[in-house]
């Protein structure tokens, strides 16, 4: 079982250091592919785009996702159940469908804007960011909601009883208590954004391609050792983010258990 899971990873890492030009053939140790990688201006550019897209979309989707999680957990409003169901759609919808949807949306929207205001917009950095925000909100919201649901709502009432305004109650009571959930959601969002190929490929424009999409396009010309190296870097980056996210959740769970123990023990 584990062989199927880990053998490809090990092979990938090993061959990314192979001196042979033909992937899958060992030709002695070298780090030349990594050096090449960082000298390649296109790869540098796409890494830059990836990071910027990930940061911007993570910040915005974390804010929006947290807001919607709070709205769904704390308030009653008309259409709440519909909103609740709709929010989960991006998680359920296949990537390709999502990608086609976003592409059509942008094409139509840009046509309309062009028609009405005469603004000629084209696909690029902004469209990628918007698409990533669109699917990330759902994931962030799910993670944050679990945390908000576990938080005692009377704490917010107590804050407001103690003269806190709505904003102060959020800033000093709610936010510190849901922070582990918000951070976990943000890490999930950044990971999803860095990894996404399908949606990005549809909405990316000339000159603004993310790293995974670029790698994917390289593969069509055949697998090269450079691709191995890029893949390893992406793998490592993802692992660090996931480890961070798991670590955060562990830490907050441990704190919760400790609180239970100390209150329960007395």
């Amino acid at each position: 079982m584990l062989i199927f899971l880990y053998a490809p990873i090990i092979l990938l890492v090993v061959y990314s250091f192979s001196a042979s030009r033909i992937p899958g053939q060992w030709g002695g140790f070298t780090s030349e592919w990594y050096v090449k990688l960082f000298e390649d201006p296109r790869i540098q550019r796409t890494i830059g785009v990836s990071i910027r897209v990930a940061l911007v979309s993570t910040v915005i989707s974390t804010m929006l996702g947290t807001m919607s999680a709070l709205a769904l957990e704390r308030f009653k409003f008309r259409g709440k159940r519909v909103f609740d169901a709709l929010l989960y759609l991006p998680i359920i919808i296949p990537d390709v469908t999502m990608a086609v949807m976003m592409l059509m949306f942008f094409t139509q929207a840009f046509d309309l804007l062009n028609l009405v205001f005469g603004i000629g917009l084209s696909k690029g950095f902004a469209t990628i960011v918007v698409s990533h925000i669109a699917f990330n909100i759902a994931y962030v919201s799910v993670v944050v909601r679990a945390r908000v649901a576990g938080m005692d709502a009377t704490l917010e009432q107590a804050a407001s009883d103690l003269y806190a305004s709505r904003w102060q109650a959020f800033r000093y009571v709610t936010l510190p208590l849901i922070a582990p959930g918000v951070l976990g959601g943000a890490l999930l969002a950044i990971t999803l954004s860095l990894d996404d190929v399908v949606v990005t490929q549809f909405v990316a424009g000339p000159g603004s391609t993310t790293l995974p999409v670029y790698v994917f396009s390289l593969i069509r010309k055949g697998v090269t050792p450079t691709i191995n190296a890029v893949s390893v870097i992406m793998l490592v980056a993802s692992l660090i983010l996931v480890a961070g996210s798991v670590g955060l959740q562990r830490a907050s769970a441990a704190r919760g258990r400790q609180q239970l123990r100390t209150t329960g023990g007395k």
């Binding site: 107590a158 407001s160 009883d161 103690l162 003269y163 806190a164 208590l177």
Partner: protein, 367 residues
């Protein structure tokens, strides 16, 4: 609504409710309540769960907005104001201490939100912490405190703001029996010390009797009666009140005039004067007969001039300091509780007995 003790007459009651109602969707949680709570009073809202007492408290706190009526605190209309704009503070049932803050930061929260200057905040926080005898625990987190200590921190966190009215939602419900009795005493002491009006909600009649200057009993969203603990026990006006505060026997009858009730077995008995505003002559009423106020004697030995009921002892229950008899009349069963003393003759099952009482030992209540 009925009040045996007239509401405080000063123009600015600490809390004044006029025609207050709260309707959730289609459930009426609080139904047209009128109530005045005097400055410096320790007032209990007593009732079973779901009677509307907590909703009433939350409306005073601003955590619920009344659907109808006027709510004033020291003469100022606060009905629609949010909680942070009211001169009241609340001790929540589960204390609602902020788990991510130390005891000191919890207590200082209200002052910091109001931007009281630092030196003043530090001084008042230290004062409040020592008032509730939590000195030395300033750096602890709530999770590291026992239930009783959390309760004290919650009190300090509210009192440090010097509210005009302190609201307490079932303040002792989460504590075990022994601690509860200790905290009852401490609460009462604390209230005398700080002189602030305390309004607290409880479903525990003993707690209400022990702590409060006056009690308001609620059921089904309505305020049934307000009075001192003695008034509530001695002169309930509603069967629910008589039944909820202590135990009682209820004899059915009709009010013939303000001092006479015709029981359903045809006997006429004298009763304490009934206020015609509360119960009208000709109404169906019940006579509340407290088990410990009924005397048992041999038939025909009832002192002259007292109402009597003839019956037969059905069961005898020994409780140590008292004996409880169930006496079977031909039309109902009456529970009687007598002291267990050598000078009182103990009755046996199937003894024929007579029951009697002083005319002022009973109360006429709405059924």
């Amino acid at each position: 609504m009925t009040e045996r003790s007239g509401s405080p007459s000063n123009s600015h009651a600490a809390v004044s409710l006029r025609g207050i109602s709260k309707i959730f969707d289609d459930v009426t949680a609080v139904d047209n309540v009128d109530l005045d709570i005097a400055d410096g009073e320790f007032f209990a809202l007593l009732g079973p769960s779901g009677c509307g007492k907590t909703t009433t408290l939350r409306m005073i706190a601003g955590l619920e907005i009344p659907s109808a009526g006027s709510l004033q605190i020291f003469g100022e209309e606060v009905g629609p104001l949010p909680p942070n704009k009211r001169p009241v503070n609340t001790v929540f049932q589960n204390y609602a201490l902020f788990p991510h803050m130390s005891v000191e930061d919890n207590v200082a929260f209200g002052l910091r939100m109001r931007k009281v200057d630092k030196a003043e905040t530090a001084r008042r926080v230290a004062e409040a912490i020592s008032l509730v005898r939590m000195g030395g625990m300033e750096a602890r987190r709530p999770a590291q405190l026992s239930g009783g200590q959390q309760q004290r921190v919650a009190l300090a966190r509210a009192l440090v703001n010097r509210p005009k009215v302190l609201l307490l939602d079932e303040p002792l419900a989460a504590l075990d029996l022994k601690l509860r009795q200790e905290m009852q005493f401490e609460l009462k002491q604390l209230q005398r010390e700080v002189g602030i009006t305390f309004v607290f909600v409880t479903h525990d009649q003993e707690e209400a009797l022990a702590l409060s200057d006056r009690i308001g009993v609620m059921d089904g969203g309505r305020l049934l009666q307000v009075g001192t603990p003695e008034e509530m026990y001695d002169a309930p006006v509603d069967r629910f009140v008589a039944d909820f505060i202590g135990r009682s026997n209820f004899l059915h009858g009709t009010l013939e005039n303000s001092t006479t009730v015709c029981l359903s077995n045809g006997d006429r008995i004298n009763v304490p004067v009934v206020d015609s505003d509360v119960i009208a002559v000709g109404d169906a009423v019940q006579v509340s007969l407290r088990p410990e106020r009924v005397m048992v004697c041999d038939p025909h030995e009832v002192p002259e001039g007292h109402a009597r009921l003839q019956g037969r002892v059905a069961t005898v229950t020994f409780l140590g300091n008292s004996i409880v008899y169930h006496v079977q009349l031909d039309w109902m069963t009456v529970v009687v509780e007598t002291d267990h003393r050598p000078d009182l003759r103990r009755r046996a099952v199937d003894d024929d007995v007579a029951l009697w009482w002083r005319d002022d030992a009973i109360a006429v209540v709405r059924p």
